[in-house]
């Protein structure tokens, strides 16, 4: 099998993350970042939200959303650094920093969502 660039795999994650972020993140930010803090909509109570969060479906949903979105950021940010900042000679550092950061974020997410709540 010929040596195949792994970029295809990261591009797939980037695309999946882009789709997830496009469909789901706006309503998340709208509710928790704007509507509730600014009093446009009455926020749900603590009990209700905690119950929602503790459901296995919610945990999985949030985990998938976090992982995909983080890898979306990582891939896009990597190329932003290549093209925008022209630091492609720091390639190895960038790859580790971006995808590594996404991995760390994913692990944190998994821990928070499945073990700490």
């Amino acid at each position: 099998m010929a040596e195949r660039s792994s970029t295809a795999f990261f591009w797939a994650l980037f695309s999946a993350g882009g789709v997830a972020a496009a469909f789901l993140l706006p309503v998340h930010v709208f509710l928790f970042g704007l509507a509730f803090p600014l009093g446009w909509i009455e926020p749900p109570g603590y009990e209700s939200l905690l119950g929602l969060l503790q459901s296995p479906v919610t945990r999985l949903y949030l985990l998938v959303l976090c992982v995909l979105s983080l890898f979306h950021w990582a891939h896009r940010f990597r190329y932003m650094l290549y093209d925008g900042a022209q630091i492609k000679h720091l390639n190895e550092v960038i790859v580790v920093g971006t995808y590594g950061g996404a991995v760390v974020g994913s692990v944190v997410a998994a821990y928070l969502l499945f073990l700490a709540v």
């Binding site: 195949r4 660039s5 970029t7 295809a8 795999f9 695309s15 093209d83």
Partner: protein, 247 residues
């Protein structure tokens, strides 16, 4: 009395200067003139030393691409009247080495084009006795848009990724590779995939989309590249599930 317009043209004479300079020419024009006419007027009447490429004058040969007011254009397709009262800046095509005045070196593009094997690849040639290849209008429609490329390289002048990293294969070449991949007569997708899917081949593209905007033939190279990324990715995943050699 003819209207005139000032052209601010890049001059670069390597035998006498280390860097490009700008020279101004005042040129008469009428409604039907294109910038190529203006440049030819300069060469015929004002300054015979000005060097630039052109051929068909009708937007099919792809020779006369230059930067016009910072935008990649075919000078045979840019009417002078649209730039009046001017002045108009005419520079050589961006992101290519400048040989002289408005002529750039195309070798990089030519090498990359050859590398993706832009011809029908068959596992076995069909002998003439078996007749011609038949292709339905639907099959033609799949690749026709990408076959309209005239190799003018305006898309390369628009692509910042190519500008930053000359190892990037570039819009037109990938679009042409896709033109053959999608051609029902071709059996060379796998060969091209292995050439293109290495790191610089297609993955450098961040879908800026400028290439499609400047293309005079509506080839949509950006679309071709994204479609190719999908193909390459699907193939990558398949290569883990299915053994090599399954077509």
């Amino acid at each position: 009395m003819a209207e005139t317009i000032v052209l601010q043209v890049t001059r670069y004479r390597p035998e006498q200067e280390a860097e490009p300079t700008i020279q101004e020419y005042e040129v008469p024009f009428t409604d039907d003139w294109v910038l190529l006419d203006a440049l030819n007027y300069v060469k015929d009447n004002i300054d015979g030393s000005l060097s630039f490429r052109w051929s068909c004058r009708m937007g099919i040969c792809g020779s006369c691409g230059m930067m016009v007011n910072g935008e990649p254009k075919l000078t045979c397709a840019a009417f002078v009247s649209e730039y009046a009262p001017g002045p108009v800046r005419i520079e050589p095509l961006r992101y290519f080495p400048i040989i002289r005045d408005l002529t750039t070196d195309m070798t990089d593009f030519m090498e990359k084009l050859k590398s993706v094997k832009p011809w029908i690849i068959r596992q076995e040639e069909k002998p003439i006795s078996e007749g011609e290849y038949l292709q339905s209008p639907e099959e033609l429609d799949r690749y026709k848009q990408f076959s309209m490329c005239i190799n003018c390289m305006l898309c390369y002048a628009a692509c910042p990724v190519y500008g930053l990293d000359p190892t990037f294969t570039g819009p037109a070449v990938i679009a042409l590779a896709q033109r053959y991949n999608l051609d029902s007569r071709d059996q060379g997708s796998r060969e091209r995939l292995e050439l293109l899917s290495d790191h610089e081949g297609i993955w450098g593209c961040t879908f800026v989309g400028e290439c499609t905007k400047v293309c005079p033939k509506n080839v949509d190279p950006a679309g071709a590249i994204q479609q190719y990324k999908v193909t390459a990715t699907t193939d990558w995943f398949k290569s883990f599930i299915m053994p090599r050699g399954v077509e």
